[in-house]
Point group: D2
Chain length 295, copies 4
Amino acid sequence: MNIAFLGLGAIGRPMATRIAAAKLPLTVWNRTAERAADFARTSGARHAATPADAARDADVIVTCLSTSPDVYSLLDGPDGLLAGMKRGSTLVDCTSGDPGTSRRIAQRLSEAGATFIDAPVSGGVTGAEKGTLTIMVGGDAAVLDRVRPVLETFGQKIVHCGDVGAGDTVKAVNQAFLAIHLLSAAEGLATLVKEGVDPTKALEVINASSGRSNSSMNLIPERVLTRAFPRTFRLALLEKDIGIAADMARENRVPAPVTQLTADVFRIARGELGEIADHVEIVKLVEQWAGVEIA
Amino acid sequence: MNIAFLGLGAIGRPMATRIAAAKLPLTVWNRTAERAADFARTSGARHAATPADAARDADVIVTCLSTSPDVYSLLDGPDGLLAGMKRGSTLVDCTSGDPGTSRRIAQRLSEAGATFIDAPVSGGVTGAEKGTLTIMVGGDAAVLDRVRPVLETFGQKIVHCGDVGAGDTVKAVNQAFLAIHLLSAAEGLATLVKEGVDPTKALEVINASSGRSNSSMNLIPERVLTRAFPRTFRLALLEKDIGIAADMARENRVPAPVTQLTADVFRIARGELGEIADHVEIVKLVEQWAGVEIA
Amino acid sequence: MNIAFLGLGAIGRPMATRIAAAKLPLTVWNRTAERAADFARTSGARHAATPADAARDADVIVTCLSTSPDVYSLLDGPDGLLAGMKRGSTLVDCTSGDPGTSRRIAQRLSEAGATFIDAPVSGGVTGAEKGTLTIMVGGDAAVLDRVRPVLETFGQKIVHCGDVGAGDTVKAVNQAFLAIHLLSAAEGLATLVKEGVDPTKALEVINASSGRSNSSMNLIPERVLTRAFPRTFRLALLEKDIGIAADMARENRVPAPVTQLTADVFRIARGELGEIADHVEIVKLVEQWAGVEIA
Amino acid sequence: MNIAFLGLGAIGRPMATRIAAAKLPLTVWNRTAERAADFARTSGARHAATPADAARDADVIVTCLSTSPDVYSLLDGPDGLLAGMKRGSTLVDCTSGDPGTSRRIAQRLSEAGATFIDAPVSGGVTGAEKGTLTIMVGGDAAVLDRVRPVLETFGQKIVHCGDVGAGDTVKAVNQAFLAIHLLSAAEGLATLVKEGVDPTKALEVINASSGRSNSSMNLIPERVLTRAFPRTFRLALLEKDIGIAADMARENRVPAPVTQLTADVFRIARGELGEIADHVEIVKLVEQWAGVEIA
């Protein structure tokens, strides 16, 4: 089974590394060609000059880009994926995408005799490196079964969520929860610090109580209390993700005031903190507004 | 060490049961006298007719009521706590209280030569029954040390958070997180169900991902997906709790839009669902608004 | 200049009546044919059986429907507008539409040699009857000039706002303001009534102060304090309108938390109050939530 | 009738000027003594060294400070108002106050044989200069009648709203409406500008339509579109005012999500823009967030 991997970003690169380590025949492509050349040099993968070239002999093409429109934009033109993909091949899109665009991509591929599954991942850079990602999949179950060996090189928990787009929907809602948990944690902890409570003590209690979340148990202690704020996942991408969740709520006529409000606060944060800020830096915005440091 | 316990409600009763089971000399009082009489009959505790009577010989008085003003209202009058409490005794208030009222109570007790700690608990009825509650304590550390043997009969993790009121502040913020996590989980899952995704599948993924919380891991699967909605902790009390957290944020000039909005949605929910609804029934309000059932 | 008018609803019917009264040759069509037949009988207008038939000899076709997609859906098919419209004719869409769909309609007409302007109106049934509507127009200025005589039969203030879609955008923002003013007026007045203040007194002051709006000066006194709540403009349509404004804000990356939140509250209200409730009945939802009547 | 006037700020000074111009015997006091000395010099009023001194012979004492607690803090001590006020005199508080503190002040004065009315004003510096202020009064109607001649020197519309505190409640709600109208106008106009619509055109339409408000008709055209942003009324004070309205809503258990959210956005704005920013500068915060100028 020949694999092509397009998009060697923060998460994509360690995912591709796991595929290469599993001795699957791998071709890589990246918009900034140097990153792909560099990867090819160290991993033994082939470096393709264009998406069409990458897709040429591939049975499975994995994409891991910023947005679904980024993936869509790779389809057309003489160098585009559709110019290279062979009938019967499958595009596995690990982008945190939006279900509408995923469905449009699936339709285009279907016309070319190829199949599509959306397969966004959760678990971050570390999860990608260790091969312990959670993968939420939308699309045909038989197609998923066929590409499962590839997914298993970087994913531990692989869940089939429904038809094309279902993976995107679940990912978007997961991200909305993450965004809401982070923002509300910042609101509460800023208040506690101003009340004179040590946030480490507060989290010790909360993390043994009903208010705990992945954010309060892991992100805040490791990244905020330490003031480390490592840049592992861009706030701009989380803003995009919760925006997808908020759009989905509206399109389905689900009143979702907390989701909508958090989406708007992240929109503000993206403007104020910039494109390279990490998602946990939303805490810094609340700290600025409150005039206090959570430490 | 003689103990008095006032407030044999859903959580208070199993807490008092643990104290009695530890063979500590126990006197109980409850506003509805029958509950106290009944408890005394089965546990061997003494049944006091009034708060003053309950406090008479007590070294440690434990209160577990709905609100701090409820506790404050027990202080005065010929039958009030202050008429019975002896110098050197300690009032341990396990109510999910507000720090301002707790400080006023502490001041009143101090004038009478007694001490006060606020010691709200987390862990629910089950935690109270098993003696595994988390207890967040505000007040003097030496006082806490003295009453610790009593707390250890029903609590597992006992954390000293700061001066009087600090326990209340941490509890209120924990409850705010709980309320926000529940409401936002309902928004997201209602959307997923309308998108055609099985919520059990969705939670399987989310609970292995960055968006997980105690609500998504325990409350929703056990109480919502099963449609059981047991009534273990009243929504009206959670509304009161997040209201305390929202007040604290404002008093400390911490912009906390998600907390404030969720407090208002719970205010709406309390009106719509009534005083006996369980806190998880906030999900039903979102379901009604969205026209869908999360199942 | 031959005119066709499609959509004889609450606003459309009095608009068409003004055109007929101005002795302009008029053909009408309505989805429920009986309304058009009835109108034709009393006004002397011709009753067309289909949109294509209505458009046949028309120089100007005026549409006044619920949503832009409703207008779009009239374009195609053997009975559709495009089957009847002649080259050089103009479609004047008085629907409170969305700019995206308006641009798509304009594009379709352009391919058929016809022109389009979006021309939503403000002023309600009374304004339509009196011919005092405000009309906000998007599209080519020369086209507007050509159809201005038709618009002047029912409109008093006609403002060219920009290219196609601009009329829709201004209308949507006006409607968002209306929705926000109504909802916030209800919040404030419910509070005042619970504080024991007579709302008539309060409005007497506010309407002479900086907080006044069209809602506080006209809608609330005439419709709420009197408990008349006449049904003149459906809440469902205002919900649609503020939804367009909220979408536009997001698409333009304008953080607009008050607009987004109000859009969600109207979404809730539409579900709770139903499709035929009047827009001012949003006040009743707040009254229900607050447990008080503003009277 | 001897008058004392305390608080010669932006609004207070022109109010006192009107009293002096009406030839009423006037004593003035100001925390920064120089402002009072300066005023006395030009107006012929007496300059008192302390609040007690100002109150000594006064029949009516008018206060115009930033907050109710500021007024309360003038009551006590050897130089305080209560040390000087004579039995039967009346304190007229024109501060935009909070009803709770006003009631406490009234109680203190009542114990000293004096009376209190809260009489906040609307109309700005210009209204004060011209004597056209709107005055909303809480307190005893007979007391109001007695002091009415004083109020009429600077006020045109004087409305008795109810018992002590009622004036404050109506003022707070008026200010909440002002804050909400300004913020939502900024959201909508920022969106329109990004859509390519001229905001002057948009306001021309909206101000002839159902979405108009005092903000859209006066403040935005005069202060935003001109980019003048004069500093006439501090955003910090409007933030305080809507905070009072938001507190009142919560205390009365009125769900008021738009009011609460706007209060929080103004809290953010006060932090970001500082203590001397004008209230209309809330528009600048939205402009910054949206990356656009409304012009």
